[in-house]
Symmetry: D2
């Protein structure tokens, strides 16, 4: 089978690198082009010595990537993906946006949380937003894919079965999430300066993180009703991983077994989402460097709360891995192709 | 002024060492004896080379400590403090329990959460439980002091002003706490094996941690009513510090300014509890190695929640430092004596 | 092609798990059996939840592994591999020892450094010791392979070209090595307790680490002469990786270009050993989770020293990955099969 | 006793903050002024929330500090201290330079390693360079004190007794040093970005670090002869501490006991330098946050090497603490005043 050519725009950012890392070993893909605004003209292995002797592509610009490739991944700041997506769309190429431009369907939400409007309103209608476990059916043949936010994936995979089970209240939910520092990207900041982040811990963007409306969009669709939740992210002194501890009010006469069953059924055939056995507790360390999401369920019968623990690797299942999973489904490849690495234990 | 003699039982555990570290520099105290079950007969500086040339006391047994000292600190597993406390009490000595034996006032709670009963019921009536900022008035002249749990201190200092302000609902509270690994002590376990704890993150003892009834006791007294909350602790890949993110439902017509004012008033004269200015976010790194507790307040107006961030050093304000603060008040010393170290920035 | 059956004895130790992790994705191997003394009868995914839904083999005993498999890997404490190796050898199976039993060829050295003698002297003659880049030619068809120590691989790959170049003195070499904490294994100890290892750093086993005679054996063979060096290992507060900074006296009229050329030639065709360009500095972070070894060369012209920096992942190129590389060569597979993962950047 | 007024120029850098932290609790000093180029006009507690409620000084400029204070500490980039030192000197104030301007006595060395010349040659003659344990006698009444580099202190305290013992060769010495990331300061860089520094390890500035000639100056004076050594620094994934593993050739008929005795005698009465008992190994964790330096001695009899392990906290004994120790001696205070904090164990 002839390989398809894929390229990565924004390849020297952390999510961009992760795409490169995973695409290099994809059976049906040839990594054909990579671009970077800051390092154009350099070999990517000069920026990432990890790639020495593995990938010696020269970093080019975004035009070259769209020109040379059948599939274009873009990992760019808000607002930068739209025009590239349009070009790809018009030329019949597949565009997968790791950024946020096509995630929110309601332009009002986008304006409120991102401070900008949709430039190309028509194009937004073409975008397929996909956490594959929830939206797999929309993906077949999609040309413009909006890859979800990392926190969004963690919280929505954790909450979805509870909400459709009928055992939990959709109101009053609290999601307390913690992310490794790769979530802040490669850009320098005092918060991610080693000596300020190490042996430190705090929340950030309290009640104002941009992933909030995206979580509410996905879950609102699930319960077919507007849904509001409290979402607070924290910065972990660790490189990778997101852990979400999610607090949900159980209905008055809830049946915890039925609730657990809803999770078992929802994820029984999923290759990447695993409900842990009773008594086990999901831990970031068990999914890092992999596309897996682990979920554990806990009951606080004293207060009538369900506590869901959902963990994933923010750079893989929360970004690059999920993008490849989306691509695999869209193109009819085996869903797990390129994503088979076993999570290391340490 | 003649120094009083103080001793530490269980001096080679982490809280015990921390007491030693702080007592060495206390103006009115002479550290006169230290004991350890595992290392009796060794110099404490052999177990903790940090003390080389600073403290060369030989580790003895608990009898020797109670005999030689006017003030006895004990940092022992549940059930071990009671008989020592009795002996001290009968001999008119001051006993400060860093452990849990005298924290819960309701024996039923103690039986339920600790699986054991009060052996010496009379003695429990003498115990003064004290987070100094909330219970300072009870301390004067106290002979038997129950030092609070680390999580309890963090959550209660964070919640107390909100609850008495009348702006927040006492029901439905969620406290999502994260602790550095010193909280697990010096005993070896797979969870605190470096390669299992580093680059990892997860909750533990979900909805069944023993600090839960203690938090409910302190806050229930504050609101003069039974109170239930959901408390979930997590293990941080860091040595020290507790961060609690606390979610509280605001009353329907709440006034956030009034709520903030309640905190300002509650802690205006407190030497160790600091309400951060609006916009600032409390961070473990700003209080580590110190007796300070920082609190920041945040509003999620979309969901009507108050989010309180409360941070402290689990080994100082959460254990040894608070014990010394309690001792200072009880004995009429300057409350900050021995606790004046400025928190390092890194 | 029918897959060969491989098994891992000691599969719940760190090197054992790493073998499992890598063998699961090997094209020509079926992981058929795993054993553990401590967890016999449990599923390996209960011990390592990373494997949930990926590998659900039940942990058995060593007899079952040797019985069921064509290729047996053993990761065991000193002295435990010999009898298993004998059984495999007699039954015509391939035995690859991740432990130390067959590394030293001189029984006197073994007695001195390991405090035990060769039980089965005949069998030792059959063992092929192999760092593939140095001993590839011995491997073809080998039935009993002694996999080198992690430090040994790092130091010898770093030093070998310098020694055969004729530009460096073989005497007076100092190797100052630092290893991540996985090197100490999964067994609990105070040194690897999180709070004792984190924010700490020190050497250990100064001038008495068992890898010393093994380094001297490999390099002595290279220079065809007895060689002595000073080797000091240190424990890094990190999970993975070995960095060796190696100090070598340059000959009086040394030619640094010629020396660099010796490295270029030695490793030009090597898939896993990369000489970094001038000016670059080898870093553990660029090889972690991979089978790569990066080497950078530096000159201190003021003191006439060559400084070699050699880095690898102690669990992959230093243990499990190199074992698979050895197996691949021995069995005529593509040398890189199963080892193609691109090193992550973070 | 009336307190003397001290000020810190460059107070928002890491060494500057550390001076502030320690001076706040000094019995005979009032911290009277702090300056910062980047944050002038802000309260220092806004930059360092650690100081909330502890120190609310407003950051001013360097002129204000020199004007208001009797003692001026400056922690500035190379070349910036000279003119301030001149002003202080002319006004009879004490100037203590944490920076490098007055460390090297040979202008040729300064030009070679710092790329700049002495602007005020006369002033350099007044400077007293002091590692107190080696140069205490020069300090009495000194007005212009050059505080040594962090690595220099670690290596020289480690080597000095060996060199004067007559048992060790002064040539061929190798110092392999590792520093926590605070050594790189508060300025942002990719190398100290959390995700690039965490789980990473490498040397830097190989054979070209500016502390090299300073080490050679101090030790050359000790042996009354020119001395050259190989010095290689590494960046540790930890906040604080320097560990130096130092390799020295022992003389042919060396007597290790005599050598050890030289250390015992050199540091017998030193409050801050501790020779560890035989068998113990110096570890960064035992001195962090303190002014102590621990030294352990090890023999490699196979290769005739002495291995010295020397550890200290780079920000305290390697910078701010040593500066205060120098000040204490110069002004006739108790040498340990303000430096009595017991090192924490975790």
């Amino acid at each position: 089978m002839k390989k398809l050519k894929a390229g990565v725009i924004g390849a020297t950012g952390y999510a961009g690198f992760e795409l490169v890392r995973l695409l290099i070993n994809h059976t049906y893909i040839e990594l054909a082009a990579v671009s970077s605004v800051s390092y154009t003209g350099k070999k990517i292995s000069e920026v990432y010595p990890q790639l020495t002797g593995i990938c010696e592509l020269v970093l080019t610009d975004e035009d070259k990537v769209t020109e040379d490739c059948d599939i274009v991944f873009a990992s760019l700041p808000a607002g930068h993906s739209e025009p590239i997506a349009r070009r790809c769309f018009d030329e019949g190429k597949i565009f997968i946006d790791i950024g946020a431009d096509f995630r929110l369907k309601d332009e009002g939400d986008y304006e409120k949380w991102y401070g900008r409007s949709f430039e190309d309103k028509e194009l937004h209608k073409e975008a397929v937003y996909s956490i594959p476990e929830l939206h797999r059916n929309n993906l077949k043949g999609a040309k413009l894919i909006a890859n979800p936010g990392c926190y969004v994936t963690s919280v929505c995979l954790g909450l979805y079965p509870a909400l459709i089970s009928g055992e939990a209240e959709p109101s009053g939910i609290v999601a307390d999430s913690k992310s490794g520092a790769t979530g802040a990207g490669r850009g320098l900041s005092l918060n991610t300066h080693f000596t300020e982040c190490n042996e430190a811990f705090a929340p950030y963007k309290l009640a104002c993180h941009r992933h909030t409306p995206e979580i509410e969009q996905v879950l609102g669709e699930a319960v077919k009703n507007k849904l509001r939740l409290t979402f607070i992210p924290h910065l972990l002194p660790a490189n990778r991983g997101i852990e979400s501890t999610i607090y949900v009010n159980l209905k008055d006469n809830y049946d915890f077994k039925k609730l657990r069953k809803a999770y078992e059924e929802a994820y029984a055939d999923e290759p990447f989402v695993k409900l842990l056995p009773e008594g086990a507790i999901a831990n970031i360390k068990n999914v890092k460097y992999s596309n897996y999401c682990h979920i554990s369920l806990h009951e606080d019968s004293r207060t009538g709360k369900l506590i869901i623990v959902s963990v994933l690797d923010n750079m893989v299942k929360g970004a690059a891995g999920q993008a490849i999973q989306n691509m695999n489904i869209s193109l009819g490849f085996d869903e797990v192709e390129g994503l088979g690495a076993v999570p290391p234990a340490f």
